[in-house]
């Protein structure tokens, strides 16, 4: 193991004091370990380096043991957790790289730049694997839109996501937006990127080859986001308001050049390794690459191209200026790298080298200002095993039932639900995102999952990002399972086989036992579902301390799923296609209202047990949907989630976001004994979908459902353009004008944003 050596403070740097240690968010215990690692007092520069790498964001010190329980293996996995992005194998020598990451805290302070730089970061994670980004997804959560601040945050975040992805030229194929009081003051902004590569071009971020050169490629370094890493590991407070000047500004134009240059550097085999400078910038990228490669690094911070004069090594090491890459290259190829950079209007600057002493060493103008044993710097952080205990209130809420009477009857509840921004169309959002650039978008936003084709390939990919956070807050384990189940169902509805997931675990302060309970149980549920579905976890990210003065956010473990359509021509849309097609309901309906949107919107009550997630039933439904698509049996398939059966039927009638007309439907159901029609319409039992198909196929579809053990009820037919939606339950007929439902559904968000 590398032994510590001396380092001297940078000119004018104060000596490290207890106060400084505290300010760097290091505990006494952690500081003891630092003293032991160094065998001396750290310089301020070293303290800053430890503080960044030992922040929750970079070190996972509270969550590592729990994350280890995720299933991460499978024949399709080319790269699991531990790199910038996970990679799965596809047909014909192709592979898909994907990853989701949060930018919650920056977006709470500056929604536009926070969201924009979040997209920039996740794009870099994917193209540093050698993959060309082909899709972006985003998962967003805000307080309710009746509040002006929430509208401001929502509008700013959406514009930020759009402006960045649009400029780089990556289509946004999907996402989700939820509005709930639990996110007021602490919005969640999770961005996912999916990239495609030739499996042979896969490159890992591991520094090796003693004497190889470290190069800084891309933007100059300024004082942006210094301590962003520890900032992201802190409750939002007056203090973080005061940190405002740290906001990072994104430059998608430079990102696009960086993307092209990086892919050219990788596919031309010019470089040894590449890593983006994300959280904790130069420090984490260099230290992590060295640790992964089991080598040391020496950085000369005086060589780093600066945007502002007089920056100290401390600032240069911790700056989070965007659009920068750290590249490892053999000495004789530096000029080649610089030529490729120049072709893309970028600068490549040697700033250090790979060493054999295992040290993370920083020199500035010839003075060694930091020298830390690299392995212990990256992996030596104390690991915590916080107490996990469910809050009594949570247990009580799960047992409770609504007391308020319904504000509307079972029929009028449907427009109410379609007008709720969480259920309503998100067209106002995805219309601001370019969804057709790259000319591969087969199914864009608005359906269950985005589907894209790959040039000259037969297969297609389906992508979705989901988190039914209402279920998770009520029952983290069942909710965790349902999160993966919903993503898989969405992907399967298009006909794609769920392949694997990435995840972004957004939770509150892990030192609160009730928060850590939510975390542990949600992860357990997600892991169980991933095992059942054969969809390993390939990576992700954890965002803790999502708290504001009013307490922790609702726990939100977001799942990003990638699925494979062996033949993209088999993709299935989510809304009805032709008058005369038959409509069938798949799965069991028990009228489960616990945790439902109906209780929340119509009875002003969030509680009860969420629908239990039957993994076996989910798997059977997924397999049926995939088989039916492969046999070309289905004209549409739409899964049931928020708002249950009635909302799913309404959405299938309302049609595509730019349809010239709606379609009507007439369906009949025999009510299960004594079930309240509201429960039947709006209950949220899982493992269900509404499908439509050519009447000629009815036998084939029925047999296929039977073969997969999926409950199957032919309910009625698709009727004429702009006709009514008519649902007969038992003897009672309920009718709605689909044209009005459509207006309500598409107007809900624009109406509120115009306010």
């Amino acid at each position: 193991m590398a032994r510590a050596v001396a380092a001297s403070p940078f000119a004018g740097e104060p000596a490290v004091t207890d106060a400084l240690v505290r300010e760097h968010k290091l505990t006494e215990q952690e500081y003891e370990v630092i003293l032991d690692i160094l065998g001396r007092t750290p310089t301020l520069t070293e303290l800053g380096v430890f503080s960044a790498l030992w922040s929750e964001h970079c070190s996972y010190k509270h969550t590592r043991p729990v994350l280890k329980t995720f299933p991460t293996e499978g024949p399709q996995v080319l790269q699991g957790p531990g790199e910038n992005a996970g990679v799965l194998e596809l047909p014909d020598g192709w592979a898909v790289a994907f990853k989701i990451e949060s930018h919650n805290h920056p977006s709470a302070v500056e929604p536009y730049q926070g969201a924009a730089t979040g997209v920039g970061g996740i794009l870099r994670d994917v193209f540093t694997m050698g993959a060309r980004p082909i899709a972006v997804l985003n998962s967003l959560r805000f307080g309710t839109l009746d509040d002006a601040r929430n509208r401001y945050l929502f509008g700013g975040v959406v514009k930020g996501v759009g402006d960045y992805g649009n400029c780089v030229g990556v289509p946004t194929l999907g996402g989700e937006v939820t509005f709930a009081p639990g996110y007021a003051g602490n919005p969640l902004v999770n961005a996912m990127c999916v990239g495609i590569l030739r499996a042979k071009d896969l490159i890992r971020a591991r520094a090796h080859g003693v004497g190889n050169i470290l190069m800084n490629v891309g933007a100059r370094t300024g004082r942006d986001g210094i301590h962003g890493a520890s900032f992201a590991s802190e409750d939002l407070s007056a203090a973080s308001e005061a940190r405002r000047p740290q906001v990072q500004v994104g430059d998608p134009f430079t990102e696009k050049l960086l993307l092209e240059a990086s892919l050219e550097l990788i596919t031309s085999g010019t470089i040894v390794a590449i890593q983006d400078m994300g959280a904790a910038g130069l420090t984490s990228s260099s230290a992590e690459m060295a640790a992964r490669g089991g080598v040391g690094v020496e950085l000369d911070t005086s060589k780093v191209p600066l945007r502002e004069p007089g920056m100290t090594p401390y600032e240069i090491l911790l700056s989070e200026s965007q659009e920068r890459m750290l590249v490892v290259v053999e000495p004789h190829r530096v000029a080649e790298v610089q030529a490729i950079c120049a072709k893309w209007e970028l600068v490549g600057t040697p700033i250090g080298q790979v060493t054999d002493d295992g040290l993370f060493r920083v020199v500035h103008d010839g003075v060694t200002v930091a020298a830390i044993p690299g392995e212990r710097l990256v992996n030596g952080v104390p690991i915590y095993h916080p107490e996990a205990l469910e809050a009594p209130e949570a247990i009580a809420r799960r047992a409770a039932t609504p007391t308020a009477a319904p504000v509307v009857d079972a029929t009028d509840a449907l427009p109410r639900l379609l007008d709720d921004p969480t259920i309503a169309s998100k067209r106002w959002v995805y219309e601001q995102y370019d969804s057709t650039v790259q000319a591969n978008t087969v199914l864009g936003p608005g359906g269950d999952a985005g589907v894209l084709m790959v040039e000259d390939a037969k297969f297609g990919l389906a992508v979705s990002v989901d988190c039914p956070n209402r279920y998770v807050v009520l029952d983290p384990y069942e909710g965790g399972k349902m999160t993966v189940a919903e993503a898989a169902r969405n992907v399967a509805c298009t006909g794609a086989v769920p392949l694997g997931i990435t995840n972004c675990l957004n939770f509150g302060n892990p030192d609160k036992p009730e928060v850590f309970f939510q975390f542990r149980e949600a992860v357990r549920g997600m892991g169980d579902a991933c095992l059942a579905f054969g969809t390993p976890v390939t990576g992700g990210n954890v965002s803790l301390y999502n708290e504001n003065p009013t307490g922790a956010i609702d726990p939100t473990p977001t799942v990003g799923m990638v699925g494979l359509l062996e033949d993209v021509t088999n993709r299935v849309p989510s809304s009805f296609r032709n008058p005369g097609d038959l409509i069938a309901l798949l799965g069991d309906t028990t009228g489960h209202l616990g945790g439902s949107m109906y209780w929340w919107i119509v009875r002003d009550f969030l509680g009860g047990p969420p629908p239990p997630c039957n993994l076996d039933a989910e798997v059977r439904l997924q397999r049926f949907l995939v088989a039916a698509a492969q046999q070309g049996l289905l004209r549409s398939a739409h899964d049931l989630s928020d708002g249950g059966l009635a909302v799913a039927l309404a959405e299938a009638c309302i049609g595509d976001p730019y349809a010239r007309h709606t379609l009507g439907a007439g369906v009949q159901f025999a009510v299960p004994d004594g079930m309240d029609p509201a429960a039947f319409f709006y209950g949220e039992d899982g493992a269900r979908a509404v499908v439509s198909f050519d009447p000629a196929s009815v036998e084939a579809v029925r047999d296929l459902a039977a073969a997969h053990g999926v409950p199957f009820t032919v309910a009625g037919t698709v009727t004429d353009p702009n006709a009514e939606l008519r649902i007969t339950v038992g003897t009672a007929l309920h009718t709605w004008q689909t044209v009005e439902l459509r207006r309500t559904y598409f107007d809900a968000i624009p109406r509120r944003m115009a306010a």
Binding site: E110, A219, G222, R244, P245, V249, D251, S321
Partner: protein, 83 residues
């Protein structure tokens, strides 16, 4: 009294200004190399009714603080002229 107000909202000093950089290099490419330290922001012009100039300025400042400038990323300057 009626005043004409011009507000100049520029990126906060120290923050990256990619637009300023792009314009600066475009100017260089066009051989306008005597120009430097280029920054690009927003210009807002409006008429304002107020009792006197200082009242007008006070109102304009309030507008900038509340709406016209984003204190997180921008700084502003106000120019008030009677008309």
């Amino acid at each position: 009294m009626s005043f004409r107000v011009f507000v100049r909202v520029m990126p906060r000093r120290g923050l990256l200004d990619p637009q300023g950089q792009a314009v600066e290099s475009a100017l260089r490419a066009l051989k306008f190399d005597q120009a430097g330290n280029v920054h690009v922001g927003r210009a807002i012009a409006f008429d304002l009714q107020a009792d006197n100039e200082s009242a007008a300025r006070t109102a304009a400042i309030a507008m900038c603080e509340k709406l016209l400038a984003n204190p997180v990323t921008e700084e502003y300057e106000i120019e008030v002229t009677a008309r």
